[in-house]
């Protein structure tokens, strides 16, 4: 056990957080290996952010333990935070300083001298494509630029573990892809990354492994592809404006049928011949046959009901 704990970048064991009678996180256990990129998925209120905040020493766990490279978050918060790069959900850049000064002041919190931090800050601004904004006031930056600056700030202390809490929420596609490119290049350099996200595509694109949470618990974890294969199979049939005859036909086939409003989802156990079969029997039926995605897994496990 000791040796696995040392190999893990992050290791959580029976981690819980309660607020009075409300249990935000109910005993989650997981490991993140060194150099691994792991995504935490879950609807709002699933407990993702609370878990992340316990790992980054913001919240003391109600019970259970969490270790970063073997260091207990409760006993060694200063040392743990030295190893972490934290990108919070809300931008909390210092509006009293310009872009470069934000990094210099932040580096000072880590105890780095100006001569160490300045070249590193300039290099990171280059990395996140903000070199031409060095002296821009924070208020003048777009949402995407702010996120990139927060990412640069999280990398200042050359963290061994990067924690990204919803890194691309609210960004336009260009800005999102810019963040993804940075995360991929960090992954190539061997940085361990834990990210939370609502976007299944983000998780599929970036993560070696995903963990799906709901109601404060971990429902399932694995590689994105293995979860898709295991939970929903290869193919999904979506149909609309369909009659009872069509639904009845699908019900007779091996697989899982789901009707949501006026739309029908069918997850066949054997997807290879479904297209030909439907073409023969219901050539006029409006439908879409597509590959199953992580989103199908997510909706199957967490349901389609609105959370808020």
């Amino acid at each position: 056990m000791v040796s696995t704990a040392q190999q893990s970048a992050i290791s959580a064991s029976d981690l819980s957080k309660s607020y009075g009678r409300f249990e935000a996180v109910r005993g989650v256990s997981f490991e993140v290996g060194v150099g691994e990129v792991v995504g935490f998925l879950g609807p709002n209120g699933a407990g993702k952010t609370t878990t992340v905040r316990m790992l980054s020493c913001f919240l003391p766990p109600t019970s259970g333990t969490a270790r970063i490279h073997g260091l207990d978050v409760r006993e060694r918060p200063r040392d743990v935070k030295r190893l972490l790069g934290i990108c919070p959900q809300e931008d909390n850049l210092d509006p009293d300083f310009d872009v470069l000064k934000n990094l210099l002041v932040y580096g000072r919190y880590f105890g780095f001298s100006g001569s160490v931090i300045r070249p590193r800050a300039l290099e990171l601004l280059e990395f996140v494509a903000l070199s031409d904004k060095i002296h821009a006031p924070i208020q003048s930056l777009s949402g995407g630029m702010k996120r990139r600056l927060v990412l640069a700030r999280a990398l200042l202390n050359e963290p061994r573990v990067l924690i990204l809490d919803e890194p691309t929420t609210g960004l336009d596609p260009q800005a999102r892809h810019a963040i993804w490119a940075r995360v991929r290049s960090l992954r190539a350099r061997g940085t361990t990354v834990l990210l939370t996200t609502h976007y299944m595509e983000e998780a599929s694109q970036l993560c070696d492994r995903v963990v799906i949470m709901d109601g404060g618990r971990i429902l399932i974890e694995g590689t994105p592809q293995s979860l898709v294969d295991r939970e929903v199979g290869r193919t999904v049939v979506e149909a609309w404006n369909h009659g009872e005859e069509f639904a009845g036909f699908l019900r007779g086939l091996p697989g899982r049928l789901e009707e949501v409003g006026d739309r029908l989802y069918f997850y066949p156990t054997e997807g290879d011949h479904i297209e030909r079969l439907l073409e023969e029997r219901f050539p006029q039926q409006e439908r879409l046959i597509r590959r199953a995605t992580l989103e199908d897994v997510f909706l199957k496990l967490t349901g389609r009901a609105l959370r808020e």
Binding site: Y19, S56, C57, F58, L59, P60, P77, R78, D79, K81, R82, L84, I86, P88, E90, N92, L93, D94, P95, D96, F97, K101, V105, Y106, R108, Y109, F110, G111, A154, N157
Partner: protein, 262 residues
């Protein structure tokens, strides 16, 4: 006490440094109020009100009203600059700018943030009182070198009132709620702490209350320093202020921890 002091460290100076960096980028506007305030008060109250009140009997001496009041406005400034810094300004940093959250993602802990904020607010009181001391000296209202005692008194009083401010901030839900402690704590001290008139003219029950107010001790000792009449009760006042400062700082830390770590 040991658990409270457990995480206190010199890293709090990083927080102090951050605040002073912000102050220095706006120094032109920051220096102006403490520069103009004494001039305004001295002319309005000192010469205006002073033309009605010709002299004040104070500790067996007779003073002009402006001489009496000038140290009072330094004492008020010590309270005002430190208290507003850890109420309105700290609240903006904590709640709107989320600066504390950003700092807590680094090796600094809540204790460092709180101590840094206290040190900075006290520094602001020291800077303001030093500027006012200069202006009042130019107006011929300060005895030297005893006037220099104002600086350590400003540091102590600044710590006290900034701790009081943080206690208030820790339990305040929104920024407009600060009007209440302003009215209940700061205004009574502003008027009844021997700032604009000697406390001994108060009825005895009110006098007891006045001596419980920390600003009474600050204004009394600042006046002794500015007038150059050493006060035999100096160390008793200092002790009282130190004890209050320690209690309020511990309380501020406790309540802020509860607020920031949930």
């Amino acid at each position: 006490m040991r658990t409270i002091l457990h995480n206190v460290s010199l890293r709090s100076l990083r927080v102090w440094q951050r605040d002073i960096d912000v102050y220095m980028t706006n120094w032109k506007t920051e220096f102006l109020p403490p520069l103009l305030e004494p001039i305004l008060y001295v002319f309005a109250f000192g010469f205006g009100l002073g033309s009605l009140i010709h002299e004040v009997k104070y500790q067996g001496h007779t003073l002009s009203y402006v001489q009496f009041m000038a140290p009072g406005i330094i004492a008020i400034a010590i309270m005002f600059w430190s208290f507003t810094e850890t109420t309105y300004s700290s609240f903006v940093r904590m709640y709107y700018q989320r600066t504390f959250d950003a700092i807590l993602a680094t090796p600094l802990l809540v204790e460092d943030v709180i101590l840094g904020e206290l040190l900075w607010a006290a520094s602001k009181a020291v800077i303001a009182s030093a500027i006012m001391l200069g202006i009042l000296t130019a107006l011929g209202l300060v005895a030297w070198p005893s006037g220099l005692w104002v600086i350590p008194l400003a540091a102590l009083g600044g710590l006290l009132f900034s701790a009081l401010g943080l206690v208030v901030t820790a339990v305040t839900k929104n920024i407009s709620s600060f009007n209440l402690p302003m009215f209940l704590l700061i205004m009574p001290m502003f008027t009844f702490s021997g700032t604009f008139f000697p406390v001994d003219i108060l009825p005895s029950w009110a006098l007891k209350i006045a001596w419980a107010l920390p600003l009474t001790h600050v204004s009394f000792q600042v006046r002794a320093a500015v007038l150059g009449w050493p006060d035999p009760w100096l160390w008793a006042s200092v002790l009282y202020l130190v004890v209050l400062t320690l209690i309020l700082s511990a309380l501020a830390l406790l309540l802020m921890k509860r607020r920031l770590i949930q």
